[in-house]
């Protein structure tokens, strides 16, 4: 069963500057403390990136993360991916996790798109044979055609997003974590990606998506979490949270056609709170 349970989790980053991040300082610092005189500078400043996060997500949840820059959206995604283990509290994530954070990472510009598909899959825990079997289908989804045999450095940002999305969605992940940056694709591709993501979430999993774009959030999510200074300020239906965050109703200007497409009832409290 796919689930995310985060309990009172905090993520604190020690900030070692050039001076404190050295062996000499640590050694001398200890000596200083023993002597009881020096050692006031041995304290490492700490950034509380996340504090007291409580979160429980289940199968079928499509959660948008909103908040200002530095509010902790990306850190929360990495906590959910298991990259940062909480410094306090706990985070239980069960299910196969597939993240798309920075699109430049884990993609080698010198090798072909096809090889990158394989490597990306290997990084996410797939076997080589499994990836080779899927590569063609991924290639079809990305519509990159002959470009797949070209080195990745010849790709535009949008093409890279297509590749990354293609890989991740083909892996049958149970937990999809998307950071902003996937906005670089064109509308027509976004439409197909949306269908595929919805299908994935329906079948097996849940989606957490951090973005500044209301349009993308509306397309992909039905609930939202508003992050502010490292903690959860509000959690609930996407429309309600976005309304409070933006100060205006983002659904107000949507055409009827768009409303039908995202399948959202018009009421402001639509969608289920997670």
């Amino acid at each position: 069963m796919v689930s995310i349970d985060v309990h009172d989790a905090s993520v604190n980053f020690p900030i070692f500057d050039a001076k404190t991040r050295s062996l000499k300082k640590a050694v001398l610092g200890t000596v200083g403390r023993a002597g009881g005189t020096i050692g006031t500078d041995s304290k490492v400043p700490i950034i509380e990136a996340l504090r007291d996060i409580n979160l429980s997500l289940r199968h079928g949840d499509r959660v948008g993360l909103v908040g200002h820059n530095g509010a902790g959206k990306s850190t929360l995604l990495r906590l959910l991916a298991g990259i940062y283990e909480p410094t306090r509290g706990s985070a239980h994530v069960s299910g196969r996790v597939a993240p798309i954070f920075d699109l430049g990472v884990g993609l080698d510009p010198e090798i072909s798109g096809y090889e990158n598909i394989i490597i990306r899959g290997l990084f996410l825990g797939m076997g080589r044979k499994q990836m080779e079997a899927r590569a063609e289908e991924i290639g079809e989804f990305t519509e990159l055609g002959d470009y797949l045999s070209m080195p990745l450095r010849t790709y535009s940002t949008g093409m890279r997003v297509r590749l990354a999305l293609g890989v991740v969605t083909s892996l049958d992940p149970e937990i999809l974590l998307l950071d902003e940056g996937i906005g670089a694709v064109d509308a027509e591709f976004m439409e197909r990606a949306r269908e595929r993501l919805h299908e994935l979430v329906r079948r097996s999993g849940l989606l957490v998506f951090a973005s500044h774009s209301d349009a993308f959030l509306i397309e992909l999510c039905d609930t939202a979490i508003w992050m502010d200074k490292g903690h959860i300020r509000e959690e609930g239906a996407l429309r309600t949270v976005l309304h409070h965050y933006r100060g205006k109703d983002p659904f107000a200007n949507l055409s009827q056609e768009a409303m039908n497409r995202i399948g959202s009832p018009a009421g402001p409290t639509a969608g289920q709170a997670s």
Binding site: A81, I83, R88, V93, L122
Partner: protein, 289 residues
């Protein structure tokens, strides 16, 4: 894809434990095992690392072999003249010494940067830390493989009475690589926290090159009463024991059990230390890189 559980796996009944089982030997061993299972990944990346340096060059990775051959021959000629040794005896000694040393130096020097250099991957993709370590040690083994051509050539030019003992080089190399893994883990984690370590290892490796019997012969110094006492200090050099166990069978020297005993002891102690470091600081590495 593996389950990612940032606390104890499957112990959902106790979610509120403060800083719970993040620091456990089980998680440390899980990391090593999960990394090993992804050997397709690091196997591929290790090859990529070899090709990376020689992209678009005509000779490609053959350059690895060529530069080793040039260095070995040059140093062999120079030091055989200095120590007045027979070149046919001395050149294989120097060449194999250099080839083995390159594995050691690679693990120490690049080991210090193993996590620092992969910071992007560590922060963006959930993968076991050990993947990066295996990749590095595998890369060193591939380099060693390329350099074996130099050894084979020397054995043809300066034939030696090689018997079945030559096969002992295989377990010896395996032991060396096993030590490469624990050492890379430990130095990698420490260096990620303390950024003075990478330049420090650089200068230590350079110094140790001369303290290890690569361009000189340990037994010669022992037989010389003037320097024998000082030469014995080389026994304190852990690198020498590993060099000896690999080199002796490769150039048909007598196998000395003593070196094996010490090398195996270092392996056991080193791995115990590595597990402890991995247990305590594994989860901190993404915070430090």
């Amino acid at each position: 894809m593996q389950d990612t559980v940032s606390e104890a796996r499957g112990e959902a009944a106790a979610p509120a434990l403060p800083v719970a089982h993040s620091r456990s030997f089980r998680r440390a061993i899980d990391d090593l095992v999960a990394g090993w299972k992804q050997r397709y990944l690091w196997g591929h990346l290790g090859w990529q690392d070899i090709k990376q340096g020689y992209r678009r060059s005509t000779l490609g990775p053959l350059w690895i072999t060529i530069s080793m051959a040039v260095t070995a021959v040059a140093l062999g000629i120079l030091y055989s003249a200095l120590f007045q040794k027979e070149l046919s005896e001395f050149l294989p000694h120097v060449a194999v010494g250099l080839i083995v040393w390159q594995v050691i130096a690679g693990c120490v020097n690049q080991g210090a940067n193993v996590f620092i250099r992969n910071d992007g991957l560590i922060k963006h993709l959930p993968a076991p830390l050990s993947v990066h370590v295996y990749r590095l040690v595998w890369h060193q083994l591939l380099l060693f493989g390329h350099n074996l051509a130099v050894w084979a050539l020397l054995m043809v030019v300066f034939p030696r009475p090689l018997g079945w003992e030559v096969l002992l080089a295989i377990p010896a190399l395996a032991l060396l690589l096993l030590n490469g893994v624990w050492f890379t883990l430990v130095i990698g984690i420490i260096a990620t926290r303390f950024r003075d370590i990478p330049p420090l290892t650089g200068s230590i490796v350079q110094l140790m090159f001369f303290m290890t019997p690569i361009v000189w012969v340990y037994e010669d110094f022992l037989n010389n009463p003037d320097v024998a006492a000082r030469a014995r200090l080389a026994e304190l050099n852990p690198f020498m024991h590993f060099l000896q166990i690999v080199r002796q069978p490769m150039i048909g020297e007598d196998i000395e059990l003593r070196y094996w005993v010490i090398a195996v002891s270092i392996t056991v102690i080193g791995w115990a230390m590595a597990l402890l470091v991995l247990r305590n600081y594994r989860s901190r590495v993404p915070y430090w890189v």
